[in-house]
């Protein structure tokens, strides 16, 4: 690969990346503008006052956005922890065991991804009532606790662990659970990290279920907080953009922090289908 071609590639990539990233910069810029700035022509890309925090102050003053951020964290955290455990267990079961009906069950679990959520909303809500999960963290986390995608991922990752390790451990008298804890989990750290990030993202950005299951600020999450700035008449873009930025920032921080892990993780896991 000669240098000129490489340089071209680089520029092309940077150009594309910027195009993808520009909407977010535009959102950031809009969040620093006043409603009048937003609707003046010709439009300006950058706000007059780069650190005009009025919109942000308004959001935190009129709604408990800090609380929403905390709630999103808690719910996403619970979901991640539980789904890591359950998905890796189930993935282990599918990868290293052989029992009748295994393939059918596996496919049945994958089929879950095809169920449109709107179709099961009301019955799901009725379940939540029965278990007193309405307006609670547990209720929020419930549909996402086990991830069909996660099981798929884990199965692929665990399949590549050589069976000899497991058999050796069994000969030494280890119980299956011990094998899980001592051998399987450490070997798929990478995939676990990848799943954790993806699950965290999905839970953080989910809207429909939190809408149905929460009624008070107690457990309200950021996506609902953002929706408050849209309504049936008009969208207050300055607030909506600011709220969007507030909801993204924690994710960006986490991602930057874990980015090394994720990429390494995905490489190590091989992501075999």
């Amino acid at each position: 690969m000669n240098k000129v071609l490489k340089a071209c590639l680089c520029f092309f990539l940077i150009f594309l990346a910027l195009i993808i990233f520009v909407p977010l910069i535009w959102t950031l810029s809009t969040s620093f503008k006043t409603p009048e700035e937003i609707t003046s022509l010709p439009i300006t890309f950058f706000p007059k006052n780069i650190f005009n925090l009025d919109n942000y102050i308004h959001i935190f003053a009129y709604s408990a956005f800090g609380r929403y951020l905390l709630n999103s964290f808690i719910v996403s955290g619970i979901t991640v922890v539980v789904s890591l455990i359950v998905a890796s267990l189930a993935g282990f079961g599918f990868a290293k065991y052989n029992f009748p009906g295994k393939d059918i069950v596996f496919f049945a679990i994958l089929a879950i991804l095809m169920v449109p959520f709107q179709a099961i909303t009301v019955p799901l809500y009725l379940w939540s009532i029965r278990f007193k999960l309405v307006d609670t963290y547990q209720g929020l986390a419930m549909p996402g606790l086990v991830s069909a995608f996660g099981i798929f991922l884990m199965r692929g990752a665990i399949e590549s662990i050589p069976n000899d390790y497991l058999d050796a451990a069994r000969i030494d008298g280890a119980s299956e659970l011990r094998i899980y804890w001592r051998i399987i989990l450490p070997s798929v750290k990478g995939s676990l990290a990848a799943l954790a990030i993806i699950k965290f993202l999905w839970t953080w950005t989910s809207f429909f279920w939190p809408l149905i299951i929460t009624s008070t600020d107690k457990v309200k999450v950021v996506t609902l907080g953002l929706a408050d700035y849209t309504n049936m008449y008009f969208v207050e873009y300055n607030f909506a953009m600011a709220a969007s930025i507030i909801s993204i920032i924690p994710l960006m921080v986490i991602f930057i922090f874990f980015q090394k892990w994720v990429v390494k993780a995905m490489v190590l896991s091989g992501m075999k289908g």
Partner: protein, 430 residues
Amino acid sequence: MRRIKTVLILGLVMGMLFVNGQSLFAAKKNIELTYWTTMGQHPRFNEWMEDLGKELTKTYPYVKGVKIIAVPYEGYEAKYLSAMEGKVGAPDMFNGMVYDWAGAHDFCALMPEYLVKNIEEHTVPAVRKLGIWDGKMYGVPGSTATGSSFMMLYINTDMLEEAGMDPNSYPETIDELLDFAKKLTKRDASGKVVRAGYAIRYSGNPTGITEKFLPFLHTFGGRMMSPDRKRASGYINSSESVEALQFFADLVNKYRVSSLEIGSPAASFGHKLAAMIFREGWVVGWLRDNAPNLHYKIYPLPTYREKVGVGALFTWTDLVYKYGSNKEESWKYLELVWKNSLGGCIIDEVAPPPWKEDLNCSYMINRPDREATTEMMSRAPSPNYDYIGAHLTEVASIMADAIGDSLYLKKTPKTVLDEAAVKIDALLME
């Protein structure tokens, strides 16, 4: 010994699980009523309502107050339905449309006599229909942010001056509306409308699209359906209705005083992209916050063959949940809100409620829509109230599709209205 310990611990855990929540025989104490609304964009009105809630403690000492919870408009139907089907987590009161929650479902409590009398005293019969289903009253009309508010004409006086017209003039008839619109429209070099003389509602919620067309339909002499709600054929596709839809579409395509690419009317008006719109009274408050330098005036709707009066299609009213445990207190609270809005709600981000009181009272005197409101309320109410009934949302959707097809020149008004008539007839017969 270990056995007994396990049993005790198990028993304790079970006990905690079941004793969670209110005990059946405890007296009511320290409760907070909940009120759900989709009107999150009126925070000061919601604060006013919460303050009123604190006054409820005088009548019911164990009531701490009322919590106003704003539900996002997108998806609110699913949320309301789930909560009310499940009974747990349902609000004590909520803001909704009576044909949904009392009509299609059975979630509304009947209004107690004392409140019915109060409302009858202060409203014209047509307006009461908003809260009535099947002859019984369930909802309090007009005490909410947009309640029964009706549309009026908003006109940007700065633009009038700029066009060399008298800033105090306004179109009284549809022909004059067209005339004004032609003079106030601005187009760019390629002929595209960059400032609409009259801004049309062409997108968003289908019920909204239909609602904004109805003033035209009615003033041309058309109707969506028969007064007894049994038939749409002969009404929605009458020659007057077709004429109205043709005129509406012509605004965009023939006279080019409107644009389908300019955003929603209220927003365009605030952003100075439209000279005239039809909108309700609450826009006053929004404009004050978001477009303080906009100079405008409000007038009654222009007329043609018939004078269109008060009427709305979104029949938001305050309803009480049928299976709640605090119904008595909830009705008292709604009575409180109603009484206080009669005196004139001090928050101008909402429209004045449709009461019969003197429109020269202190609250109304300073509102820019005072004269227009007076005139509109003196006219016969619009046929909107007759449309309230089963399947209204779906009827409005069918109508909105017809309007859209005409505006975008996919089909002629006659064709779409004939098709709509067939569909709506089938619906009304169910």
